[in-house]
C-alpha cells in the first residue's frame, strides 16, 4: 500500500498542529539550550497558568457552539474589583464579592446568548468594551494597588507554594481535573457537546438548549474570576488593562487544542495542551531573542493555522479544489 497525496494531506490536517509544534520545539532547543532547562519549563507552565485557567472556561463555551471574546476585559474587571475591595472590606469578603460580581456578568452574557439567542460574537465583543468601561468607572481610571503589600495573606494564591509547587500551577491543574470530569463524565458535559454539535437535534432530544448555553457562560465567568484572583494575588496591584488582548490568546489556545469553532468537539485535556503549546512558543520566541511584540503576530498566525487545519481535517484535504 502506498501513501497517496491524499493520505499525506489528511495526516497533515489531522496531526498538523503537533507536527508544527515539534518543529518549533526542536528549532528553539537548538537555538538556545536554556529553552529545555527544567526551571525554564516550570516557568513557562507557571506563567501560562492564568491564561490556562481562562481557557478552561472558554472550552465549554466553544464546545457549546459559541464564542467568548469578553474574557480578557472581564479578567481586568475581576482583578481591579478584588484589589479595590481588599482594602475596603478585607480579603475574606472581597474574594466572594468579586466572584459574585463576575458571575453576574457571565449570567448576563449567558442570558443574552442562551435565552435571547443573540449572536455570541456580537454579544461578547460588545461586552468586551462594555466591561472595560465598567472597570474604568469602578477604578476611576487609576491603577489599583493594595496599600499594605507585605501585611496581607492575600498573596497566598499567586505567590505561595504547596509541596514546592507554585499555587497558580496547582489551581490550574486542580481546576483542569475538575472541569475535565464535568465535561467528559457528567450528563451536563454530554449535553454541552450535543448542543454545540447539533442544536436542533439536542432540542429534539429534550435538552434545554438555552439553559446549557447559559451554564457554559457561567463556567467561563467562574474561571475568569479565578484568573483574576491569581493575577491580583500575584501582583497585589494592577492596571485597568491587565487582561487586554487575552481573549484572543485564550481562543488560540482552545482552538489549538483542537476544539472546533463550529462547536461539538474538543476536550479540557486538549485545551491544556493548547495552552502549553502557546506558552512554549511565546517563551521560545523570547529566548531566541525576538522582540516581545513579535508574539502578537505569531499568536495571530497560530490562530489562522489552527483554524485552517481544523477546516482541513473536516474536508480531509488541505485546500478545496472546488470553487
Amino acid at each position: 500500500m502506498t501513501l497517496t497525496k491524499q493520505d499525506i494531506g489528511r495526516l497533515l490536517a489531522k496531526q498538523g498542529i503537533l507536527i508544527a509544534f515539534a518543529v518549533f520545539m526542536i528549532g528553539f532547543a537548538l537555538a538556545n539550550q536554556r529553552f529545555i532547562a527544567i526551571d525554564n519549563i516550570a516557568g513557562v507552565i507557571r506563567s501560562s497558568a492564568i491564561l490556562g485557567v481562562m481557557a478552561l472556561g472558554v472550552t465549554f463555551v466553544v464546545i457549546g457552539g459559541n464564542l467568548d471574546l469578553s474574557v480578557g476585559s472581564m479578567m481586568s474587571f475581576s482583578t481591579i474589583v478584588v484589589l479595590d475591595l481588599h482594602d475596603k472590606i478585607g480579603p475574606t469578603l472581597a474574594i466572594p464579592a468579586m466572584f459574585g460580581l463576575t458571575l453576574l456578568l457571565g449570567a448576563f452574557i449567558g442570558f443574552l446568548v442562551g435565552y435571547l439567542k443573540l449572536n455570541s460574537l456580537i454579544v461578547t465583543l460588545g461586552m468586551l468594551s462594555a466591561i472595560h468601561g465598567l472597570t474604568l468607572t469602578w477604578s476611576g481610571g487609576k491603577n489599583m494597588d493594595i496599600a499594605d503589600k507585605s501585611g496581607t495573606w492575600f498573596s497566598f494564591f499567586g505567590q505561595d507554594r504547596i509541596f514546592g509547587i507554585p499555587m497558580p500551577i496547582l489551581i490550574f491543574a486542580l481546576l483542569a481535573v475538575l472541569l475535565s470530569l464535568l465535561l467528559a463524565r457528567t450528563p451536563f458535559g454530554r449535553k454541552v457537546y450535543a448542543v454545540g454539535g447539533n442544536g436542533q437535534a439536542a432540542t429534539f432530544s429534550g435538552i434545554p438548549r438555552a439553559r446549557i448555553v447559559f451554564f457554559t457562560y457561567l463556567i467561563s465567568a467562574f474561571c475568569v474570576a479565578m484568573a483574576g484572583l491569581l493575577q491580583a494575588s500575584r501582583s497585589l496591584g494592577s492596571q485597568n488593562t491587565v487582561g487586554q488582548g487575552m481573549e484572543l490568546e485564550v481562543l488560540a489556545a482552545v482552538i489549538l487544542g483542537g476544539a472546533s469553532l463550529l462547536g461539538g468537539a474538543g476536550t479540557v485535556f486538549k485545551t491544556v495542551v493548547g495552552v502549553l503549546i502557546l506558552g512554549f512558543i511565546q517563551n521560545g520566541l523570547l529566548l531566541v531573542g525576538l522582540d516581545f511584540y513579535v508574539q502578537y503576530i505569531v499568536t495571530w498566525a497560530i490562530i489562522i493555522l489552527a483554524v485552517w487545519l481544523d477546516v482541513a481535517a473536516k474536508r480531509g484535504r488541505l485546500w478545496s479544489p472546488i470553487a
Partner: protein, 502 residues
C-alpha cells in the same frame, strides 16, 4: 451479441476505513443507455463505492475506467468534467443561495470581467426546472424549499452538462409519488441519449420498474449481477441478505388497553385544523397522506415543538399541556423525527452517546454518567435493530445512511415511552431491516405501547397499522380500520376526493 464499450467500469476496488473494510475487491460496469441498480443492505458499501468513483475517497486498490480509459479521480469537479455526475444520498445544497445558483454552483455562466450573466443563468435554470416539472422558480431560496423539492434541485444539477454517466444514490427516499414519476421520466430521457445510469435504492418496486440490470453488494463484497427481466424480488433479496423475507403481516391480535393519547380539535394556524384522533395502548395508528398534509406538524405539536392554536391533548385521560420536548419526554412521549441528520443525530458524537442522549440524566452512578449502563443499552438495541458499526465509539457521521436511521430509532425506543411517534421510520432502510422494524413496531404494540406511524409509503402504512388516519391538506379526511381499508379508498381519501366520514 457484443457488449458495447461500458461508459464506466470499476475493477477490484478496495477501500478500508479504520475498523471497516467497506469495499473488498468490487468490480462493476455500466453500459451506455443502461440503468444499472446497485443494491445491498445498509452499510454494504454502495455509497462508498460511488464516493470512490467520484474522487471523494481514494481507493486503497483497484482501477477506474471511463470509456475504457483508466482514470484517477481526485475530486467531484474532475469527475464531472469527465462526464460522471452524482446525485448524493445526503443533500449538499447551500440553503442561502437560489435554486439557479445551486444548480450552476462552480460553473455560473459569465459575462466579461467575470460578472455573472444572470439572464442566461435564469434562462438555463428555467429550462432545467421545466424538464423537472416542478412548481418553484429559479430565484427561489433553496432553504425555503421542502426536502423533496431540494432533492429535485440536486437532480437538476446533473442536467447542466451532457453527462456520460449519472449516479443516483437513493434519490427517491424523500420524494412523493408524483415527483418520482418526473424523476423516472428524467432518467428515461437520459437513457435514450445513451447515458449510463447507476441507480441505488432500497425500493424493489422501483428497481424492477426502471432498471436493466441489478448488481448486489454484501458486506463490501460483490455478489453478482442479475438481469432485471429474468429475476424476481426473492432472488435479489436472497443475494442481498442471504435469506428470503417473510412479508406477511403480523396478524397477531392482542388485547388493546385504554386510550393512551387523545387529541381533540387540535389546530395549528394554517398547518392543520380541527384534528381529532385517539390511540390506545397496544395499537398502531397510521397516518397517511401526501407530503405537506400536516402529519409531521401534528407530531411536532404533540411533542411540544409547536404551540397549538386550539384544541386539547389528553394523555391517559388527563388533559396535558406540552410546552417543550422536555415536557414530552418526561410524560413518556417519544418522537423519531423525519430528518435524521438535522433533527435526529449529533453527527460529531459517537453511536452510544447519540443513542442515550435523551436519557443521559437517568444513567448516572453518583455524579457521573455510567459507562456500563450506556453500553448495555447500546448493545441491546444494536442487536435488536442489527446496527452495523465497528463499535460504539464510531462517530455516527461515519455510519451508512440506513444505520444512522437505526440509531435514531434505537434512541427513542430505548426510552420505553408510553406513546411512540415515528415519522417516516424506514426512509433509506434496506428491505431486511425494514421488515424487522415493521415487526418491531408490531411487537411494541403487543407489549402495550401506543404507536403512531407517519409514512408516505402506502405498503408500509397498510402493513403495520391497526387503524389509518388519512389526511389531506391539514385536515383529517377519514379514519379506516384495517378491515375496511383498501388501496383505492385510501388514495381517494388523501387526494381530498371523499368527503369526511364521521
Amino acid at each position: 451479441m457484443t457488449d458495447p464499450t461500458p461508459v464506466l467500469r470499476l475493477e477490484g476496488i478496495v477501500k478500508s476505513f479504520p475498523g471497516v473494510r467497506a469495499l473488498d475487491g468490487v468490480s462493476f460496469d455500466v453500459r451506455p443507455g443502461e440503468v444499472h441498480a446497485l443494491m445491498g443492505e445498509n452499510g454494504a458499501g454502495k455509497s462508498t463505492l460511488m464516493k470512490v468513483l467520484g474522487g471523494i475517497h481514494a481507493p486503497n486498490e483497484g482501477k477506474i475506467f471511463i470509456a475504457e480509459e483508466p482514470v484517477v479521480m481526485t475530486s467531484p469537479m474532475q469527475a464531472k468534467a469527465k462526464g460522471v455526475v452524482f446525485i448524493h444520498q445526503e443533500l449538499s445544497l447551500a440553503d442561502e443561495l437560489t435554486v439557479a445558483e445551486n444548480i450552476f454552483l462552480g460553473e455560473l455562466p459569465l459575462k466579461s470581467f467575470g460578472r455573472v450573466d444572470w439572464a442566461k443563468l435564469y434562462a438555463r435554470t428555467d429550462a432545467i426546472l421545466k424538464k423537472l416539472n416542478v412548481r418553484f422558480t429559479a430565484k427561489t431560496r433553496v432553504g425555503d424549499l421542502s426536502i423533496a423539492n431540494q432533492q429535485m434541485v440536486e437532480i437538476g444539477r446533473a442536467l447542466t452538462v451532457s453527462p456520460r454517466a449519472v449516479i443516483f444514490d437513493e434519490p427517491t427516499a424523500s420524494l412523493t409519488d408524483a415527483e418520482k414519476v418526473v424523476l423516472f421520466d428524467v432518467i428515461a430521457d437520459l437513457q435514450s441519449q445513451g447515458v449510463g445510469i447507476v441507480y441505488i435504492s432500497h425500493r424493489m418496486e422501483e428497481v424492477f420498474k426502471i432498471t436493466d440490470r441489478i448488481s448486489v453488494l454484501r458486506d463490501g463484497q460483490y455478489r453478482g449481477t442479475l438481469i432485471t427481466a429474468d429475476t424476481d424480488e426473492d432472488e435479489v433479496t436472497k443475494l442481498m441478505i442471504g435469506r428470503s423475507l417473510d412479508l406477511s403481516r403480523n396478524e397477531s391480535h392482542h388485547e388493546m388497553g385504554d386510550v393512551a393519547l387523545e387529541v381533540r380539535g387540535l389546530s395549528c394556524g394554517t398547518l392543520f385544523q380541527d384534528v381529532d384522533f385517539a390511540v390506545r395502548k397496544g395499537e398502531v395508528l397510521g397516518f397517511y397522506g401526501l407530503v405537506g398534509a400536516g402529519r409531521t406538524e401534528i407530531a411536532e405539536t404533540i411533542f411540544g415543538l409547536r404551540n397549538p392554536t386550539a384544541g386539547q391533548i389528553y394523555l391517559n385521560g388527563r388533559e396535558v399541556r406540552i410546552h417543550s420536548p422536555i415536557d414530552a419526554v418526561r410524560m413518556g412521549i417519544s418522537l423519531v423525527p423525519e430528518d435524521r441528520k438535522g433533527q435526529g443525530l449529533v453527527l460529531s458524537m459517537n453511536c452510544r452517546d447519540n443513542m442515550t442522549l435523551p436519557q443521559v440524566d437517568d444513567m448516572t452512578a453518583g455524579p457521573f454518567v455510567s459507562d456500563g449502563a450506556e453500553i448495555a443499552i447500546f448493545d441491546q438495541y444494536r442487536d435488536k435493530l442489527d446496527i452495523r458499526t465497528p463499535g460504539w465509539r464510531q462517530l455516527v457521521g461515519n455510519l451508512s445512511g440506513g444505520n444512522q436511521q437505526k440509531i435514531v430509532i434505537g434512541k427513542w425506543l430505548s426510552m420505553r415511552p408510553d406513546v411512540l411517534i415515528v415519522d417516516e421510520p424506514t426512509r433509506g432502510i434496506d428491505v431486511g431491516s425494514k421488515s424487522e422494524i415493521h415487526s418491531l413496531i408490531r411487537d411494541l404494540a403487543a407489549q402495550g405501547f401506543a404507536v403512531i406511524v407517519i409514512s408516505s409509503e402506502m405498503p408500509e402504512v397498510l402493513h403495520v397499522s391497526d387503524r389509518i388516519v388519512a389526511m389531506y391538506s391539514g385536515k383529517v379526511m377519514r379514519e379506516f380500520t384495517s378491515e375496511e381499508v383498501t388501496e383505492d379508498n385510501l388514495i381517494q381519501a388523501i387526494s381530498g376526493i371523499t368527503e369526511k366520514v364521521a
